[in-house]
Amino acid sequence: MITSRWTQSLLFVLLAILVALLFTSAVLLMAGASPVAAYWYILKGAFGSWTKIADVAVAWVPLLLATSGLLMTFAAGLWNIGIEGQIVLGAIFTTWVLRVLQHSTLSPAVILFLAIAAGAIGGALWATLAGVLKVYGGVNEIFGGLGLDFVAVALILWLIFGPWKRPGIGSMSGTEPFPQQLWLPTLGQSRLSLWALLLGLVSIGMVYFLLSGTYFGLKLKAVGKNPRAAYLLGIPTTRYLMSAFLLSGLFAGLAGAVQVTAVYHRLIPAISSGYGWLGLMVSMLINFQPAWAAPVTLFFAALNIGSIQLPIVLKLDSSLSGVLQGALVLSFLLMSGVRQRWAHRHPQEAEHE
């Protein structure tokens, strides 16, 4: 049998996608909707016009940043569920600096730079907190991070309805928008900022480089796979675990900063838009390989944007994108299990790999 490894992988990927689509179609039929129509509208909603394509790119950036961060923590064997909170804290710190400096005499470029840097620091601080709980307190990072997520949400709500509320009455629509000169410049009429896009692409490039070409990345992976052995090999494990949290929070904080400076121009309660969770899904789907992060995050961003108009055109909830994304990840996980099992049962054929 001369099935090459590549055809086999391709076959497996196609099969996984097929299973996910079948499942989602069944869900759509249960909801009384036509799957074909739903997929068509998602496609149209994502790529139907230049504005929509730009919107996809707008959603791509924070997702790419969050995924970049998560790949660092995953390399160290950590489930940084606290990423949502880290995005929120990034947004809060950015807003804070913008509020303090918006009436100063500094040039807008400087203020924006400082605000975005502050966002990165905010995310990193929140991540460090989860890191301290994990590394020094023995609190599993999933629960520590999750708790901090909820605390971050409470914090942002308190700020929006309390100290930072709009003149008059605080509302879910967020804080007062910043003056236009403090918005990251966007491309033409669209909401897409090339600066933000650049930031996202540079970030994932950096993560790829760090993890595949540097001593730091290799040591991080060693710590992730076997902390005890890594320690005996002379790697300061605590420091590496903390660095992973810190870097992850840094990227997450940048995502929050971008949401404030380039997308919403103010602080809103749902500022993280669930990109942290989505980044976790992407990371699992790409089996934590940075090389695949850019295309897959783009695809997921397209699904998110594409499903926005489902409630209007088909009276369907936009959470369909989440169902489809979840189905894809689950189907990939299960199929790779099936594949390993198959390889195990047919060792001769698998030997061609």
Partner: protein, 332 residues
């Protein structure tokens, strides 16, 4: 607050804690068998929505509950299958499922948002409910609350006092040794994951047909409870009674949040609602810190008396998970 109000309030705490008790005990049984089912949060939402939908469509509460438990068991079995048969990470699969089940609940539940549905009947127990204090506190609820009381004792008795319970402990602790003694490790793991999942699923309809009757989509206020249940499982040290005590503590805190609201006008209600989460972190910190390496190192530097006293306190608080939690087992 009058003592009457206090009594009503505390009875309300016992009532509101029932679903958390179900989920915590369900997860405790699953984890005792050595499987981590991380899908609890999504499962509760999906079960709550589906059982409400079924109950609305069929006007049958019983079918609604059956649906909730079925969904819980099905999701849990998927976790078990992908881990035991397909060798995939339990954490990854559970996590995807928790997110996907949540989105499924919101998507499929859309048409049922805000609809009126049946609810579980209030059922004071004759005679007993008339006893002062104890009566209104324990015997003036619906069947689910009574079942939650019974379940705590039942689960404890099963795990610690029966032969199958001893086997359950064994397969989570050292599956190879349990297998050597005749336990069908993986079959039992499927069984307890499904059973635990069904109990987690039971929490869903307990909300949507009783404690917080109805389905309100993203504002149902159920998102996050599953995570609390998972944390309580750890807090309880995989002991059903201690876990349930945690569930009551959680419900008590939520109630206090409501009671204190009028006295803290400047604090938005959303802030008080998250109060249990920092507390969750704190309790996890207390029960885990004894396992941290730096603590051991620091202790070694202290004078003997202080060292022994502190490590005694730490060991008292400390919880130790089943040794093979999350570790797959292969026969042969």
């Amino acid at each position: 607050m009058s003592s009457h109000d206090l009594l009503i309030g505390l009875a309300g705490v016992l009532f509101a804690a029932a679903p958390v008790v179900f989920a915590t005990i369900g997860e405790t049984l699953t984890e005792r068998a050595g499987v981590i089912n991380l899908s609890v949060n999504g499962t509760i939402l999906l079960a709550a929505m589906s059982s409400f939908a079924v109950a609305v469509s069929t006007q049958s509460i019983v079918l609604g509950f059956a649906m909730g438990m079925l969904i819980g068991a099905a999701v849990a079995l998927l976790v078990a299958y992908s881990s035991i048969a397909l060798k995939q990470s339990q954490v990854a699969v559970g996590f995807v499922l928790t997110l996907m089940a949540r989105d499924l609940a919101y998507f499929l539940g859309n048409p049922y948002m805000g609809r009126q549905g049946p609810r579980v009947q209030h059922l004071p127990i004759p005679v007993l409910s008339k006893i002062p204090v104890v009566g209104p506190l324990f015997f003036n609820h619906d069947l689910l609350t009574y079942f939650s009381f019974v379940l705590i004792g039942l689960a404890w008795w099963w795990v610690f006092r029966t032969r199958p319970g001893l086997t359950l402990q064994a397969i989570g602790e050292r599956p190879a040794a349990a297998y050597a003694r005749g336990a069908a490790v993986n079959k039992l793991r499927y069984l307890y994951t499904a059973l635990g999942g069904a109990l987690v699923g039971l929490a869903g309809p307990t909300y949507s047909l009783s404690v917080k009757a109805g389905w309100k989509g993203t504002i149902s206020g159920l998102d996050g409870i599953g995570w609390i249940a998972l944390a309580l499982t750890i807090f309880g040290g995989w002991d059903p009674v201690r876990g349930a005590a945690g569930a009551y503590l959680f419900a008590l805190l939520q109630w206090l949040g409501l009671v204190l609201q009028p006295y803290l006008p400047n604090v938005p209600s959303q802030v008080l609602q998250v109060a249990p989460f920092p507390l969750m972190i704190l309790t996890l910190l207390l029960v885990n810190i004894g396992n941290a390496e730096w603590v051991e190192r620091t202790l070694a530097g202290l004078p003997p008396d202080a060292r022994r006293a502190i490590s005694k306190v730490l060991r008292w608080m400390q919880v130790v998970p089943p040794a093979s939690l999350g570790v797959p087992f292969e026969e042969e």
